[in-house]
């Protein structure tokens, strides 16, 4: 691994992000009647995509918006321009990563989604997002935010709208907790710009479709699990190496399971909600491989999991997989709309580093170059702790990038406990646990869900 490459500047990156920032600042004040400074941000965004097929539409959108005369289509064009710029940032960051880790990436391209009829709910979501953009982050109040609740409730049960619904639900909760905007001390400028633009593009019919393009038959060797959550949703993504039968080149793949949840289901309760719907979580907990037969897979390397297509296989040590199978496996491409720095999560294996703690921040010095360790992403309902990571000698992690720097999110580490070498996994409790603290957390979570189900049984549908 060439750690030096990760800290070297990337040509054009700062300029692209500056154009994004200009637009994001305009969203802070709102697009109803932009002031000269905001109008300049819009123009800068248009200039940044001047050499692309978006040029004419974005130039018109920037002009109309600066004049306070924007339509929803103009907002879509601006969101598209911002997304395209961050797409280019994503591509540059990923190719640098591939160079640093000597990885190969598939050339397969994701298929274009078919055009669809605009659903009423998508139109309603776009209208809410447009109101939001007009008020700006400083102008949000409970009236503006509550407009999303009905749209989200209506969308959530429809699997085709689940992506947008889940995004809007998490976004609206943050906005509601930040009301009124006039008294906000600081604004998560890039983040809300991201969430707004992404939601805006997902209101385009067909944008959220990523169809399976093939099937996977062979052996699946899990590396670790990444948990993601907001107040009312949770997703677990298992990262793994897939070895097809017949000896074709192995691939890096993911398997995901997600579910909406009440905000009071937290910690071990998240695993309890997910566990029954993906046998892979149990296999991961037991350190087993799985044998797949005809499992649907997308061009992005996402297995669309079905328990019928999988059965438990031989024991498989994640560290052996990371040392032996991962280096020769091909990484998948990212779907065009998903190209964004926040989406980067490349499984890597690190060893021979020196762990350093500086102002509470942990980093691994790899060949003298410090790599930030994102210990905050280690789920609290699991056996892995920041202390164990700091004392580790080898690490399976996800290479990510945020706020200007690469960082590694630990999925598992090898460390020494009472003079014995052990592997500790962030998702160690995914399939269940006999650990004392874990059992207690599981019990509390079971009780919480039981109370809610009892209340729901009595009060819903009356």
């Amino acid at each position: 691994m060439r750690a030096d490459l990760l800290s070297e500047p990337i040509a054009g990156l700062d300029e692209a992000l500056a154009a994004v920032d200009g637009f994001d600042q305009a969203l802070v004040a709102g697009l109803l009647r932009p002031q000269p400074a905001q109008a300049a941000g819009l123009t800068e965004l248009a200039h940044a995509v001047a050499g692309t097929p978006l040029a004419a539409r974005v130039a018109e959108a920037a002009e109309k918006t600066a004049a306070g005369a924007a339509s929803e289509d103009h907002f879509i064009a601006l969101a598209a321009a911002r997304t395209a710029l961050l797409g280019s940032v994503h591509d540059a960051l990923v190719s640098r990563l591939d160079e640093a880790f000597g990885r190969t990436r598939s050339e397969e391209t994701a298929p274009q989604a078919a055009e669809r009829q605009a659903a009423n709910l998508l139109v309603a979501a776009r209208s809410w997002l447009s109101d939001l953009a007009r008020s700006g982050w400083q102008g949000i109040d409970h009236d503006v935010i509550s407009g999303s609740a009905q749209v989200v409730s209506a969308m959530l049960p429809d699997p085709a709208l689940r992506r947008l619904a889940t995004l809007l639900d998490g976004f609206a909760a943050e906005l509601a907790a930040s009301c009124p905007g006039t008294s906000l001390e600081r604004v998560p400028v890039r983040r809300w710009g991201d969430l707004w633009s992404r939601a805006m593009l997902l209101t385009l019919p067909g944008a959220a479709e990523e169809p399976a393009t093939g099937t996977a038959t062979g052996r699946l060797l899990p590396l670790g699990v990444d948990l993601q959550e907001h107040a009312t949703a949770v997703q677990a993504q298992v990262h793994a190496v897939f070895e097809p039968v017949g000896g074709a080149v192995s691939r890096v793949v993911r398997a995901s399971v997600s579910v909406p949840k009440p905000d009071t289901v937290v910690g071990a309760g998240l695993w309890q909600l997910l566990r029954p719907h993906m046998s892979l979580l149990a296999a991961l907990g037991e350190g087993r491989s799985m044998d797949l037969v005809g499992m649907p897979v997308t061009a992005e390397g996402d297995l669309v999991w079905s328990d019928e297509q999988a059965r438990p296989g031989e024991p498989a040590d994640a560290f052996a997989t990371a040392r032996v199978a991962l280096p020769t496996a091909t990484d998948a491409v990212t779907a065009p709309l998903d190209r964004h720095p926040a989406r980067i999560a490349v499984p890597v294996f690190l060893e021979g580093y020196v762990a350093q703690t500086d102002d509470d921040a942990l980093s691994f010095a790899v060949a003298g170059h410090p790599l930030i360790v994102d210990t905050d992403r280690i789920p609290s309902a699991g056996p892995l702790t920041p202390e164990a990571v700091a004392a580790s000698g080898a690490c399976i992690g996800l290479l990510r990038w945020d706020a200007g720097t690469y960082r590694v999110q630990p999925l598992a580490v090898e460390t020494t406990v009472r003079k014995k070498a052990v592997a500790i996994h962030a998702g160690g409790w995914a399939g269940g646990t006999t650990d004392k603290a874990g059992v207690k957390a599981e019990k509390a979570a079971t009780d919480a869900v039981a109370v809610l189900r009892e209340r729901a049984g009595r009060l819903l549908r009356k």
Partner: protein
């Protein structure tokens, strides 16, 4: 811009702290109120819908069938006190105090001091108009348990990492 402003994945709200839900199955800081639902101690079919307004602390408590709560005459009833205690468990005393605009004089706020400060201002009894929307928000909250899981990837969740911090 600071690193926080340049971050795509910073957690803006901390996750709820785990708490026992039997007594107060639902509490939220929303719509300009601390509001929620408190289970009746005597009748398993009955729940109380309770709320306290931000700033003026005007309070209301009634059953889900819109019968007024006998305890909430002139001052906070036990349901409202339970609601405040559970809100502090779920969100942390500091966030609850800040949200309600309660300034505690000495030291860290607690459920007790927050309730006392509000109650000492002799807040007025609000009408129970809010009960219906609060109850429907509770039902919406419960309905999340009925939604089907999915194994189709949800790339948007990349923006919502877990955090070891709690409210």
């Amino acid at each position: 811009m600071s690193d926080w402003e340049r971050s795509s994945t910073e957690r803006v709200i901390a996750p709820a702290r785990p708490r026992k839900l039997a007594k107060v199955p639902f509490v939220e800081l929303a719509d300009g109120r601390l509001q929620g639902v408190v289970s009746s101690g005597s009748d398993i079919e009955r729940v109380y819908v309770s709320s306290v307004l931000v700033g003026t602390y005007a309070f209301a408590c009634s059953t889900n069938n819109n019968r007024p709560c006998g305890g909430a005459r002139g001052s906070f009833c036990n349901h409202i006190r339970a609601l405040i205690s559970e809100a502090v468990l779920q969100y942390g005393a500091e966030r609850v105090a800040r949200y309600l605009r309660v300034e505690t004089v000495d030291g860290e706020p607690s459920a007790q001091t927050i309730a006392d400060v509000m109650s000492n201002t002799r807040p007025s009894q609000g009408d129970t108009k809010a009960a219906a929307p609060v109850f429907s928000r509770f039902l919406r909250h419960l309905a999340y348990l009925e939604l089907a899981p999915s194994t189709a990837p949800l790339p948007e969740m990349q923006w919502f990492p877990p955090t070891r911090g709690v409210a």
